[in-house]
């Protein structure tokens, strides 16, 4: 999500970071890059212009140039401006009390995802203990009524429709009357979508709005929309007075610049984001997280929130304890893997971890889910003893046995063991360290992987040439030298942190 925008900004900011000293001219270059990536992310041009002028004004100031770490300040300014642009949020649906009926009206352009979002919203309300009714007011698109009925069936939520009536206002009225008779407390109207220039449709929506008087009117916006997003949002807002925006299709690689523009132009808060085709893929929108994500800082909070829903808390505590004691086995690794699996598509999860978004890109074409299954298969083919200390017990014959059991090449078993060793080392040293340290190590791990992009998920490839003993010795020497260098740097880095604070 927002990955492409994130990539663009990431590289733009890297350019800024790379400079030893920030001068006005190289900052302008960097800001130019920021501008370009925002435009390539489909942020509306006037919004970009305003954003850039605000950021440059702050960034080119004297205060920044004299500051200890100017590039970080610029990042901070860009981040803060992004947050300002997309916030403040209001996730409340402003539902009335259970004895009073609330009517929500959904509107949006054709194909923006209104009907699916209506279903998702219904599901969310039902989960919160409300009794929703979905109403098919889209009488334009063939089969729109059927679509809503199918969704209602899947969700076990009642759907109101009237195939004989051609007037959506009458249908909405009848639905509200019907809802009052039943024990319904929330009515969601799924209206027809068209291009907003269609006066007839806008008038129809206005009629529904006037006659039914919905408590909330939401605009559904496709996150892939280009510069036109502001035009349609503006028109809808003028005619219907929107209460919120829901951005859809954010599970793709849409740059999502529309989120920034729509908020800026209409002033209407973005409430939710749709992140998948399945009916539970509706999340609250968080500008701070999104801004952090855009800047490549990862979205740790979202991950934590997600994890809390899915992770077994006790298990986490147990693992934390073991890590502290310096024990980390393949069993633990396996548990973590399957927990991550439960969180959702790996790529999505990885993108949420700071520093990992670059990594997921690097692994680009690799099928993570499949790789994960293969890793699990390998671990499952090991004996408990092997899982406890793989590098000590697994010899060639065991390796062959495990490989046969998991249906992989023995080489892949060896790869897993090697990677596990590196990871175990990191995990045990992570335990008991503060956030700051963790992030730093994460970055180091990442840069390590940059040098060996095949790292975690290695696919079959050439085995390379065999090295002569002489070459091997030379490589070993280089590796040791590199290790020493890193240790030195780490030490120095640690000291540096101390003085900075």
């Amino acid at each position: 999500m927002f990955e492409a925008l994130q990539d663009g900004l990431g590289s733009a900011l890297k350019t800024l970071r790379g400079q030893g000293k920030l001068t006005e001219s190289n900052m302008r270059d960097g800001l130019k890059l920021v501008e370009r990536s925002l435009l390539e992310a489909d942020v509306s041009f006037p919004v970009v212009r305003e954003f850039m002028s605000r950021v440059s004004e702050q960034a080119v100031g004297e205060k920044v140039l004299k500051a200890l770490n100017p590039s970080q300040q610029v990042v901070g300014i860009v981040y803060q401006e992004l947050v300002n642009l997309m916030g403040p949020v209001d996730h409340s649906l402003h539902l009335r009390g259970p004895n009073d009926m609330t009517v929500l009206m959904m509107c949006g352009l054709q194909g923006s995802g209104k009907t699916t979002t209506t279903g998702k919203l219904g599901r969310m309300l039902k989960q919160r203990g409300r009794r929703p009714l979905l109403v098919a007011c889209d009488l334009q698109r063939p089969a729109a009524i059927d679509q809503l009925h199918v969704l209602g069936e899947q969700l076990e939520i009642p759907v109101f429709s009237d195939r004989t009536n051609k007037d959506p206002v009458a249908v909405a009225n009848a639905a509200v009357r019907e809802a009052r008779k039943q024990t319904i407390d929330t009515v969601i109207l799924d209206t027809a979508g068209r291009l907003h220039i269609d006066e007839e449709l806008m008038a129809q929506l206005e009629r529904i709005d006037r006659q039914i008087g919905p408590q909330q009117v939401y605009l559904v916006v496709d996150s892939m929309t280009g510069q036109d997003a502001v035009n349609s949002a503006k028109v809808f807002n003028e005619r219907l007075e929107l209460d919120g925006v829901i951005m859809t299709k954010l599970d793709g690689d849409a740059r999502g610049g529309a989120a920034l523009s729509v908020k800026q132009v209409t002033g209407v808060p973005i409430k939710f984001i749709g992140t998948g085709e399945h009916l539970d893929a509706l999340e609250e929108f968080h500008p701070d997280r999104m801004a952090g994500r855009i800047l490549g800082q990862g979205d740790l909070l979202t991950l934590v929130e997600k994890a809390q829903q899915e992770f077994d808390q006790d298990e986490m505590a147990r693992q934390e304890e073991r890590l502290r004691k310096g024990e980390f086995t393949l069993d633990d690794f396996r548990k973590q893997l399957s927990q991550i699996g439960r969180l959702g598509p790996l790529q999505k999860v990885m993108g949420l971890i700071p520093g990992m978004s670059a990594l997921t890109d690097m692994m680009g074409d690799v099928d993570h889910e499949k790789d994960m299954k293969r890793l699990l298969g390998i671990i499952d083919s090991m004996t408990p003893a092997e899982r406890r200390s793989p590098s000590k017990t697994i010899d060639q014959s065991r390796r062959r046995r495990i490989a046969t059991g998991a249906g992989v090449e023995p080489r892949e078993v060896a790869d897993l063991v090697r990677q596990f060793d590196a990871m175990a080392q990191m995990m045990t040293s992570l335990a008991g360290k503060g956030m700051r340290e963790r992030m730093k190590m994460m970055r180091e791990l990442q840069s390590g992987m940059m040098q060996n992009p095949d790292g975690l998920a290695k696919k079959k490839g050439s085995t390379g040439k065999r090295l002569t003993p002489k070459e091997k010795a030379k490589l070993k020497k280089e590796r040791e030298k590199e290790m020493r260098r890193r240790k030195r740097e780490q030490k120095r880095g640690g000291d540096g942190d101390g003085t900075e604070e």
Binding site: A4, R36, L39, E40, A41, D42, F45, P46, R49, L109, Q110, G111, S112, G113, R141, P142, A143, A144, I145, D146, Q147, L148, H149, V150, L151, Q154, R194, L195, H196, I197, D222, M224, T225, G226, Q227, D228, A229, N231, S232, K249, D251, G252, D253, A254, R255, G257, A258, E277, D367
Partner: protein
């Protein structure tokens, strides 16, 4: 109504928008081309979604030609038109029909891009050309997608092959082609479920559907159409790249061009992916489909600005 008129009708809003905006930039006796002017120009061009590179190239062109001079609106627009035509240049791209047996057209795109409506329009066009058409309801995923296509099939009076709900789309495609061969149909149009180009499994499914079609007819599908929503921004590039990777698209249908959106992203796609635009959708009725011509696209875009009467075609 001629194709040009249809196109113009579709692009009317675009033209009007440019017209007022551009005219604002000019005084009656021309204007000095300086940095503020170039900035304003960028703002206008960016609105079309043609993307960073194309905009910068056009701005560059105007800057080299006229910087520091006082020019008229017509001169500037002529430069835009020339440069944009250059960027958009593409060979004619009509539908390539099979030499014998049915021609298979596979239609794909992201969710909500307008695939089903485009299929209806294609079917209508082919039918009015005297060809027999069969629809394959390959979108077995979205709720009621099959119903939507079935409604179109009865409205247009063309046969349809559907599968059981949740049936594998590849099997529907396979049977649709099989049926077309058996009954001697000229064109078989296969619908597919909308999918985001980043969904690896679903993209793999698309490849599988194509393979299923090839089991019946090795040379098929003769056309693989990517339906692109004209409101799409720069994400359209990613769509073109990834769909082409999966099923080797042969062209684009630019749908929903009747709004204020300009579909300018096809300029960027043409440059970066090379995929030609075959047709444009300019309305909601089955007859609202017109073949795409870059010269006319550009001309229609700027005619309103200069107030020239459209050349009849």
């Amino acid at each position: 109504m001629g194709f040009f008129d249809k196109l113009k009708q579709g692009l009317k809003k675009t033209g009007q928008l440019l017209k007022t905006d551009v005219r604002d930039l000019f005084k009656s006796e021309g204007r000095l081309i300086d940095q503020p002017f170039l900035d304003e120009m960028r703002a206008l061009l960016f609105k079309t979604d043609m993307g960073y590179d194309a905009v910068e190239q056009i701005v560059e062109e105007v800057a080299t030609n006229f910087r520091g001079r006082v020019v008229t609106l017509e001169q500037v627009v002529e430069t835009w038109r020339k440069k944009l035509s250059e960027l958009m240049a593409q060979p004619e791209a009509p539908i390539r029909f099979a030499e014998s047996g049915p021609t298979v057209i596979m239609v794909c795109g992201v969710n909500g891009s307008g695939k089903t409506t485009t299929i209806a329009k294609l079917a209508y066009m082919l039918k009015s050309q005297g060809k027999t058409v069969l629809l394959g309801a390959g979108d077995t995923f979205r709720a009621a997608a099959v119903e939507q296509l079935t409604i179109w099939s009865s409205r247009l009076g063309v046969p349809i092959v559907t599968g059981a709900p949740q049936a594998h789309p590849a099997s529907v495609a396979y049977r649709a082609v099989e049926e077309s061969i058996k009954t001697g149909i000229d064109v078989c149009i296969v619908d597919t479920a909308g999918r985001l180009q980043t969904q690896k499994n679903l993209m793999a499914e698309l490849t599988k559907i194509q393979e299923a079609i090839r089991k019946q007819l090795p040379a098929a599908p003769h056309e693989v159409i990517l339906v692109l929503d004209a409101t799409t921004g720069q994400n359209g590039i990613s769509q073109a790249i990834k769909f082409t990777e999966a099923v080797n698209c042969t062209g684009i249908v630019l749908a929903k061009l009747d709004g204020t959106a300009k579909g300018g992203v096809v300029v960027a796609i043409r440059q970066q992916v090379g995929l030609p635009v075959k047709y444009i959708g300019v309305g909601e009725k089955p007859e609202d489909l017109a073949p795409f011509s870059p010269e006319e696209f550009v001309r229609a875009l700027f005619d309103e600005v200069t107030g020239e009467p459209p050349r009849s075609s």
